[in-house]
């Protein structure tokens, strides 16, 4: 896996065009009323939403959280040419969070005049990277791609933030969205409100229209934003920190097409697929 996530992570090894692609999880249903429902979920990276036109998302970092907060096993996992797919049996009533999570630490330093590059988990970082290394620069990359499904009444236990990277905190439940009603969400970055962050919302079905119809909203001081959906359908939501021409981003210091090595600094991205139902 990891080819895509890693590629995004190791900014210096990929072309900026990768950022034109969109990562997503697409559940077969988000609102279910049967007693022991199943959903099947597609995971892909594509240009068009929500069509399989580029590469699959690998499922190595799949974390499904059940209504009681415990992990749920994803069954029938398979990865094809354009998409990965898996099934979830929603044995408990309530809301499930489906997430592809990648948290990485990058470090570079100089050892006896030789440049060293290191990449790994937070745990491995503490063990493997000498804290007093010469010229040590550390950056962290967090990527979270999510979708939500609910059997019966929506619950919020599975939606507790982990405190790492960019995360969505529901004010309006993500499986309780209908046209014409305002929906409010909060974004946290490492557990703190992600203020003044631009959030992009794009309705699915891009293939059959000429314009993206993307909407950009900015979070307030509490990291909150509100929007009202006029049309029903699946929407792609995305927010990124540390991108653009800032250090580590395309064209920025240490980023693809930019000068120098990756500097100390953090990048985080959050993506969710949310369904808006008609009234």
């Amino acid at each position: 896996m990891l080819r895509i996530l890693t590629a995004i992570a190791v900014l210096t090894t990929v072309s900026p065009s990768l950022f034109a692609h969109r990562q997503w999880l697409l559940p077969s249903s988000t609102v279910l009323s049967s007693t022991n429902p199943w959903v099947t979920v597609d995971a892909a990276v594509s240009n068009e939403l929500f069509y399989f036109d580029h590469v699959p998302m690998r499922l190595g970092n799949l974390v499904v959280t059940g209504p009681d907060g415990a992990r749920v096993e994803a069954q029938n996992q398979a990865t094809g040419k354009y998409r990965s797919t898996f099934d979830l049996n929603l044995k408990q009533p309530g809301t499930y969070r489906i997430a592809l999570v990648n948290n990485s630490v990058f470090a570079n330093w100089t050892d006896n005049g030789q440049p060293k590059n290191w990449r790994g988990t937070e745990e491995a970082f503490a063990k493997e990277v000498p804290a007093n290394a010469t010229g040590l620069q550390v950056s962290r990359m967090s990527s979270r791609v999510e979708a939500f499904v609910t059997s019966g009444k929506p619950t919020k236990e599975a939606l507790q933030p982990t405190g790492v990277g960019l995360e969505l905190v529901p004010v309006t439940h993500p499986n309780d969205l209908v046209t014409g009603e305002a929906a409010t969400f909060q974004l946290l970055n490492n557990g703190k409100p992600a203020a003044n962050l631009e959030v992009t919302l794009i309705p699915g079905g891009i293939r059959y229209r000429d314009q993206l119809h993307e909407r950009k909203v900015t979070t307030d001081a509490e990291g909150k934003f509100s929007t009202t959906f006029k049309e029903p359908g699946m929407y792609w939501m995305n927010a990124t920190t540390g991108g653009g021409r800032r250090p580590g981003g395309p064209g920025g210091q240490g980023g693809p097409g930019g000068p120098g090595r990756m500097p100390a600094g953090n990048r985080a991205s959050y993506t969710a697929t949310i369904e808006v139902l008609p009234q």
């Binding site: 279910l32 009323s33 007693t35 009444k153 139902l277 009234q279």
Partner: protein, 168 residues
């Protein structure tokens, strides 16, 4: 209909009013026809649900799916009330009905109407048909009422005439 004692007029709850709802399910010339799922419920002025009166659905469970699988397609009812209920609900759950005109009466004392405070409400009929469409109709009514004034509306696709009569 009953004759009311003057004392009973003092509290709405104690009133023996009836709500009579007539729902016409149209006969449709389609290749694959399934009887619609229908929810009959009462909304307050803010469109929140005051009472779920009836839900007609396929209560049988087979190997593939439970009878509640498609209840979510009664979208407004499911979101505002259904998902909070444990189906089946006595006196509310019922089997799907064939094309034709169906009259159902709800007695204040014996139905979900019992705790309803006096006021202005809307009777909502939502219908959703497997491999077909969905339609939702609203008929305003006063509860309880002193005069039996029926009101009605007519659907375009999944529902015919829906008539609501509050009997004093």
């Amino acid at each position: 209909m009953r004759i009311l004692l003057p004392a009973a007029l003092l509290t709405a709850k104690a009133m023996a009013a009836d709500l009579e709802v007539t729902v016409e399910i149209p006969r449709l010339g389609v290749a694959e026809y399934h009887r619609p799922y229908v929810a009959i419920f009462v909304e307050r002025a803010d469109q929140s649900v005051a009472a779920s009166l009836a839900v007609w659905y396929d209560q049988q469970t087979n190997k593939q799916e439970s009878g509640t699988t498609w209840l979510k397609d009664l979208r407004q009812w499911w979101r505002k009330s259904g998902r909070d209920l444990k189906m089946p609900v006595d006196g509310v759950s019922g089997a799907t009905r064939p094309p034709g005109t169906h009259t159902v009466a709800f007695r204040a004392a014996k139905s979900a109407l019992a705790p309803l405070p006096a006021g202005q409400y809307q009777l909502v009929v939502e219908a959703s048909r497997e491999v077909g469409g969905r339609e939702i109709l609203r008929v305003p009514f006063q509860w309880p009422t002193a005069s039996a004034q029926p009101a009605q509306t007519k659907g375009q696709t999944e529902l015919g005439v829906v008539k609501v009569a509050v009997k004093p």
